[in-house]
């Protein structure tokens, strides 16, 4: 009877064997921004719950949310959501089979990076 033993198998080479490419940055940023947005989701539902509970609880949550630290989280979340938004649209465009040559992909990557900053500033100005 064979006893199952854990075997140290070689892993296939990963990040260390690749030259750094622009696409790596745009790709990992999509994942980081998407998952980091959970912070603002928690803040939003906490603030909503406090508002629905009582005046005094709302004062606590609203105090945090409108403090400089809360404002910093909102600003970073805006940058995150706009980047994730644009990168998501780019992803849908890729999925449909367009823009997959290097030049167009890189160009769209820059659109995501610069566009997210521009959209964040616009949001901060008008809202």
């Amino acid at each position: 009877m064979a006893i199952e033993q854990p075997v140290e198998r070689p892993l296939s080479p990963h990040l260390q064997v690749y030259r750094r490419e622009f696409n790596m940055l745009t790709s990992i940023l999509t994942r980081i921004t998407g998952n980091a947005l959970i912070v603002s989701a928690l803040m939003i539902v906490w603030w909503l719950l406090a508002a629905s509970t009582s005046e005094s609880y709302f004062a606590v949550a609203n105090g945090f949310v409108t403090s400089w630290f809360g404002q910093l989280i909102w600003a970073l979340s805006l940058l995150g959501i706009w980047y994730h938004y644009l990168a998501g649209l780019r992803h849908l465009y890729f999925d449909a089979g367009h823009g997959l040559d290097m030049e167009t992909a890189d160009k769209l990557g820059w659109v995501c990076l610069i566009g997210s900053v521009v959209l964040t500033l616009i949001t901060l100005l008008i809202v």
Binding site: N35, L42, L48, A51, S52, T66, I81, G88, D95, V127
Partner: protein, 123 residues
């Protein structure tokens, strides 16, 4: 007795065993969020910074309340799938299962808290 042949059961499923279901669900929620998020940002941006009475008045109106509920629900479904995908990439074994359970629990908890708060203010 299985009536389907092994080939018939495997076809179209790929390595994940679930075919393109995950990817398709992400595309659907992504397109939904593409419409929801900009509108939600405007509503939330205007609501934050108001006093308590102002916030209650905002979410007593149908449009902000329904929009917020829908955005919280769809975004958490989208987050759940995306976060599970990340966990599957970086963690293995029992830790992976625990983390996936935590993410699913967190996502549904946020939906429940958000919808409860909105319902209480709207009704």
């Amino acid at each position: 007795m299985r009536y389907l042949t092994a080939r018939k059961r495997a076809i179209g499923k790929g390595a994940s065993g679930t075919g393109t279901e995950h990817h398709w669900q992400m595309q659907v929620s992504a397109v939904a969020l593409a419409f929801l998020v900009p509108t939600f940002l405007i509503v939330m941006g205007r609501a934050i910074g108001q006093d308590h009475a102002g916030v209650l008045a905002t979410f007593a109106r149908p449009f902000p309340a329904i929009l917020a509920g829908l955005t919280i629900f769809v975004s958490m479904i989208h987050f759940k799938k995306g976060a599970i995908m990340m966990i599957e990439d970086y963690w293995h074994g029992s830790l992976r299962k625990v983390l996936i359970m935590l993410v699913i629990g967190l996502s549904y908890s946020i939906i429940a808290v958000g919808l409860f708060a909105l319902a209480k203010m709207a009704l």
